[in-house]
Symmetry: C2
Subunit: 422 residues, 2 copies
């Protein structure tokens, strides 16, 4: 029997017992954190060799240049060669840059707002962006900062609702769309080939429409059957829209989260435009860190081998989340959740109006959750029902405590809501 | 007898012999480069230990945090502690950031243009900046990119012409001034205590006037008697203008040119404002590189000891430049030059109208010089007479060839100009 089907008296009894359990939980004085998609120490240990690479005497790039000195605005060619096939790019149509891809997304949009992009008619003023929801809070924070209006579009399970995207994209104010095409943050879903093709072909009101293609989890598989996506650059090229996609990737969740390398791939027109602007900002990225990564990873296969080790660390955590949710919530009928095949998150959907109450109850018990609403523009979930679970960082034992506590809070918040309706 | 005093016939003979010498020079097929202020391989070798630091197992910051993971937007505290005294800053009023200070200058101005700065009344529109000349071409390129009008102000030998600065600064459109206060690029001059104090106190039309204080050469001494400058932040604070200075520095010419760390110091109001904006762009800088630098340098004294080794490499090069210029040009009366006590450049002033001809003649002989005009806004030297010599990168033997060739070109261009006037 689901909670909603329980007679009032039984629901009240359940509420009382859940409150007692919650009081006991509070008394334990836990201090656990499920907020951010951070790699665990065990994962970071996989990249320990980076800490003494490239090694004394090793500083020459394959082309003979001295990586210790200035220059090389597009980044070390041999590192681009390693990541090009993994991101669906060609080495000559990408840059390897600083320690995050977020900064490349930010700088792309900031320069678009100030100067406009190739094929456009000047600075992006009064612009709007399509934001598939739930999505990544840091994407939305960049738009908020730059005054770009965010228009939410629902995710469907294999990417954004394309009918809605098509309806909205005819407005010339709509300059683009955020996409996390594989193992999306936070739902874990992957864009279908049909979705990729239709985004590439999409008729748009803006002639300078851009797809910001954040391929953050390109090699971050959680199963033995890697999910692949269509090549957005090839699809856009075939559709006569070669300048539409801007592809991003990084090693933040491959090697070291704060000391990795970000990548951007795009058409020559986009790349020349961006590199021209970035060249006024810096003489070049940290090529020693590029060389360090090239030496450590060696080849695309080297990256995949490393990711298999990550999977061995992460899979038990995601299994634990799935098992706890199933055991504690499957019969209650008050929540649904994703079972991602890759990426860093599980998306948990609770009864409408309950998400922020769950976060509050968990907070009282010492469990830090991502604020309810975070995966929505301006942090506002219109139905207050989506929670993002980030299981990667805590050790398994702590994760077990945190998930147990979280499911208790979901049950309590649900019963409270059902009682309030009676 | 100077060239200008020579009778016409002798001048013609001199021109002929110089042309012959130039032809012989061309025939040598040299390929030498005096363009950019890059450290030499010998200097980069001084930081070889960085190539295998911090070393396996060493990734904890002094506060116990794991530098391999996300976070720490203001940069590693222990690295800030090392550089604070060297840059006239306090660790809590500075950030350690990415691999260049140029990007911090760029981002400061870009955010000022888009959003305005603390104490101002909104975005910097139709702004102007005072640009002491000759100055640093990359400073000017940022202003040009952002549409900030550049108003040249002459350098005097101990900083910019303050009467001119005071006259111009009353215009509320004038939002700031570029300063390289110590061993300035390219003249090598250092701002006097009086100059620093007057800039701090300067009455300005703009309430949000900023001094961009690029202390790029704070510890880059070429003599045993280090030159010191007044503390601009303390002076501005005393003058009631605490938010006026923004101080920049970097390790680019201390450790590795492409793989160093940039710093920015300012009032809390400025710092909170900037960090707030940067926090939408990145989760944090590369703290492993900060740790690497902290381990290698150890202390402020460690930095000074390293700089003494740089001086041992650089001093013979600057001496060679001085000796060649004196030997070849002192009696001709066609040029003057600086004898810097630190920094990376010698500024050579030739007869008006001759600088670009010298660059052209040198180019024909295979000697790459910084384009004439580069140290001026938009690359335009109104008198076409200033050349920037960057002696740090080439080995001494190549530098000797290049300087010998350069002085020949100066003589030939001068004689051509004198003959044309007759």
């Amino acid at each position: 029997m689901t909670f909603a089907e329980l007679p009032h008296e039984q629901l009240s009894e359940l509420a009382a017992s859940l409150r007692t359990a919650h009081d006991e939980l509070r008394a334990r004085g836990l201090k656990l954190d499920l907020t951010r998609g951070k790699p665990s120490a065990e994962q970071l240990n996989l990249s320990t060799p980076l800490l003494d690479l490239p090694g004394a005497g090793d500083y020459r790039a394959a082309d003979g240049s001295d990586t210790r000195n200035y220059g090389g605005l597009r980044g070390l060619p041999e590192l681009r060669e390693i990541f090009a096939p993994l991101l669906g790019l060609k080495p000559e149509n990408m840059i390897a840059f600083g320690n995050s891809s977020l900064e490349l997304m930010h700088d792309f949009l900031m320069h678009a707002v100030l100067f406009g992009v190739p094929g456009g008619s000047g600075p992006w003023r009064d612009a709007a962006f399509l934001c598939p929801v739930p999505g990544y809070d840091r994407h939305f924070a960049i738009c908020a900062k730059l005054g770009i209006e965010m228009i939410p579009v629902p995710m469907t399970g294999d990417g954004p609702d394309l009918a809605e995207v098509a309806r909205l994209a005819v407005d010339p104010r709509v300059k683009g769309i955020w996409c996390v095409p594989k193992y999306s943050n936070p739902t874990g879903e992957t864009y279908s080939p049909e979705t990729v093709r239709r985004l590439a072909e999409l008729p748009t009101g803006a002639e300078d429409f851009r797809i910001l293609w954040d391929n953050a989890y390109s090699v971050h598989h959680l199963t033995d059957e890697p999910v692949e996506i269509e090549d957005i650059l090839a699809a856009a090229d075939a559709a006569g829209n070669p300048d539409r996609p801007i592809v991003f990737g990084s090693t933040s969740k491959i090697t070291l989260a704060g000391a990795g390398v970000g990548f951007l791939g795009a058409s020559s027109a986009n790349l020349d435009w961006l590199v021209g602007h970035l060249g006024k900002r810096t003489i070049g990225p940290d090529k020693i860190n590029h060389l360090r990564h090239a030496r450590f990873l060696g080849s695309p296969q080297g990256v995949l081998d490393l990711m298999a080790k990550h999977r061995a660390v992460l899979r038990p955590k995601f299994d634990l989340v799935e098992q706890t949710l199933t055991k504690q919530l499957a019969d209650a009928g008050v929540a649904s959740w994703t079972t991602p095949r890759g990426g860093y998150f599980v998306s948990l959907t609770v009864l409408p109006g309950c998400a922020s109450r769950v976060v509050e109850l968990a907070g009282h018990a010492g469990i830090a959750l991502t604020p309810a609403g975070a995966p929505f523009p301006h942090g506002k979930d219109p139905e207050d029902k989506v929670l993002r679970i980030a299981p990667t960082f805590p050790p398994v034992s702590e994760l077990a405590d945190a998930m147990s506590a979280l499911t208790l809070c979901v049950k309590l918040a649900s019963v409270e809501a059902l009682l309030a309706k009676i």
